[in-house]
Amino acid sequence: MSGWFNAHFVSMVDGVAYGLLLFTLAVGLSLVFGMMDVLNLAHGTLYLAGAYTAYALSDGSWLGLLIALVVGLVVGLLGGGLLAAAVAPLQGRGHLDQAALTLGISLIAAEVMVMLFGAEVLPTAPPSALSGSVSVLGHTYPVYRLAFIGIATLLAALVYLAFERSSVGALVRATVADRDMVRTMGVDTRKVLFGVFGFGAALAAVGGVLGAPIIAPGPGIDERVLVLSLVVVVIGGLGSVRGALLGALLIGQVQTLGVALVPSYAPFLLFGAMLLVLALRPQGLFAPGRA
Amino acid sequence: MNASQHVVPGGRGSADGVPALGVEGLSRHFGSLRAVQEVTFEVRAGSRHAVIGPNGAGKSTLFALIAGALPATSGRVRLHGDDVTSMAEYARANRGLVRTFQHSSLFLSATARENVLLAVQRRHGVQASPWRSVTRRRALLEEADEVLAQLGLLDRAGAAAGALSHGERRQLEVAVALATAPSVLLLDEPAAGMSPADTQAFQQIVLGLPQEVTVLLVEHDLDLVFGLADTVTVLHLGEHLITGDPEQVRASEAVQSAYLGAEDTSDLFLEEGS
């Protein structure tokens, strides 16, 4: 047992880092769908924008990372606001039109980014202070990933607490349980739409800035990241922060530990896991109960 | 008329005294909430039977249990003596136990005729084949039109269901249910959201139904209930209180205290305002 643990230790820690990265993406997607009933297929684009920001601005110094984070946050908020404004006129027209619109936007954005940054995958270096490796339980492990796990855990904890404990979080949860609630309570739905979109988008873009050294920016990354977070959301249950967190951690392990254990089935694990969950519990593993 | 006979065969088992519908010790629990608890009563074949009760009495749950939309926790539902408790909703419908919906529930993009046609073709067995015989198609259409005529909707046959007025949708709702040739018709709060005039018109529709069709009505509007029903069952807090003719039910002290004790005193004996 301890031998097995030892052999796969690195994969498991990788899985945690990967899972936390997916959480920063999935939580926005999940809330936008759960609260506003909007299927945002341009969500991966926000990660990519954040990752390119990190590539362009980080020069290995702490200041570079800080600037990249601030710029990434602004990019995310702007992108979220733009998407919310684009989707707002489609209220009541169903998911297909939202899907077409957001997919169209993501195609345009992806092409613009190819024009700006080229068609290569751009490996992005972490701050030089974090670029080395350390020994953890006898394994060498990149410092940056450990730091990422720390920061992302903090971020996830903040989001989780805000969602579960604050009054805004209570409103959000109430809305997921009963969407008409917001309207009957006299809350401005446009404000909620922009708020939720902005929050989710900012988190995805920040995830992109921090995640660039893990999933490097390049063409097609937006689609890959989108599909991954869709899987997380479906597994975790739409509109649930806890579900997004647990689903992301699960998928993180599937993508790292699972691949290390059964490499020949690697391409099937992700969607196999999703099909299994959907077949057993179509509403997701951790879906909030609806009255 | 020969035609209406095959539209509404109904009345199975009516002669030998087997009740059209038997509810035996039926219960449904949601966690610790006992929405319906050990309810037992019978619906005589050919009767116009109403289930009433104050808010929270378990009417809607009971309706869903009988229709098959919800599985029962325990107890049985019998249709003409046969146990249908474990049958899915569609299978009960195929056996003649057919429901309507509280708010009109139609195929809105289809025409009124197509709405009825869906029910008619199901009864004659629809296959997944793209082929169709023209003559058979004509027979189905004629049958659909007969049902539409029965409900006074024939002149609206070509209109999309979504374009019909509220009252017309109600009529079409019944037409779709009737076109399945039910032996027991379940009406789920048909007066919900209806104006008094619409309710009156609806009462006439139900009174005009063939006698072979047994009607079980779950309803809030007591005017409609007492204008229609020959038998009334009262539920209270998920339990069966009384089943009897309208006079018995009006006179029952238990019923009066149940309605007075409940928060809404939707007065049993007063005309409803507005």
Partner: protein, 328 residues
Amino acid sequence: MNSLQVRRTLLVGLVAFALLMVPWVFGAFTVSTFTRALVFAVLAMAVNLLTGVAGLPTLGQAAYFGVGAYTGALVSIHWSELGIVQLLVATLAGVVAAVLTGPLAIRGRGVAFLMITLAIGEIGYSAAGRLDAVTGGTDGLSGILPVVVLPGGEGLVNEGLIYYYVLVVAVLAYLGVGMLLRSPFGLTLRGLRDNEARLRAVGYRTDAYALGAFVYAGGLAALAGSLWASSQRFVAPGDMGFEIAALALLAVIVGGVGSMWGACLGAALVVFTRDYFGQIVSGHAPLLLGTLFVLAVYLLPKGIAGGRAQWRTLFPRSHAEHPTAEVR
């Protein structure tokens, strides 16, 4: 009524004439783009049968398209160069694939169905890339022989002849789908989209009908796949990837959900935007496609086939020039 029939007959005749003239008017590249558009139109009809008619939005039809493409290619390489044999075997393979996977897919509705079909599509894509012995892996499958229409005939290598082959099959598929939609089964599928609870209440086992739609759509997508193999003579995993599935769904949305001729037109628009106009503006096809989808959603909310009212609001001036059109 009568003039409407005359106008419709005229329109059908005009479209038929235009389609027949394509190889005589355009060069080889344009003709091959038309061929791809026709294949894509058949795939879009399959997507529309599920999404538009039965109300089950799918991102997984590329998987069955791929099953048909690989089957058609393998039949061509190992067994028969006859088009009809390839089409039949490929369609059958698509039907079998849909029968096996459908029961899982129809457990969900709406977005859940979309996600399950997405997963099926991605698994199919991964499988195609890994089953090297059968599919040639990520290198793809080449060596597909020119398709032969009549036994003993010559293989079709001329772009124009391939176009006609695809055109005939696509038109037959269109007519077949039209027949299906007018049948009692087609009405039932529309009922499934409109109001599944009510359909169940009048006695339909709705899951069986959803599965039926899934199987028809799987077979139709596989038929399109076989046409793809014959016309491109090369099949690769990318042909059954997310991009194809998404473009097919978007073609249906642009064309007008539920309308078959709309889906075909949408498919043609998508293929020409990507392969033809995309070439003209030096390879920025995604930019054009994205713009097309965004504009379509805003300007034509019901799609190309979604009625004339929205076209009138788009072009109010031409509307004013023909006041008689308003009175009609």
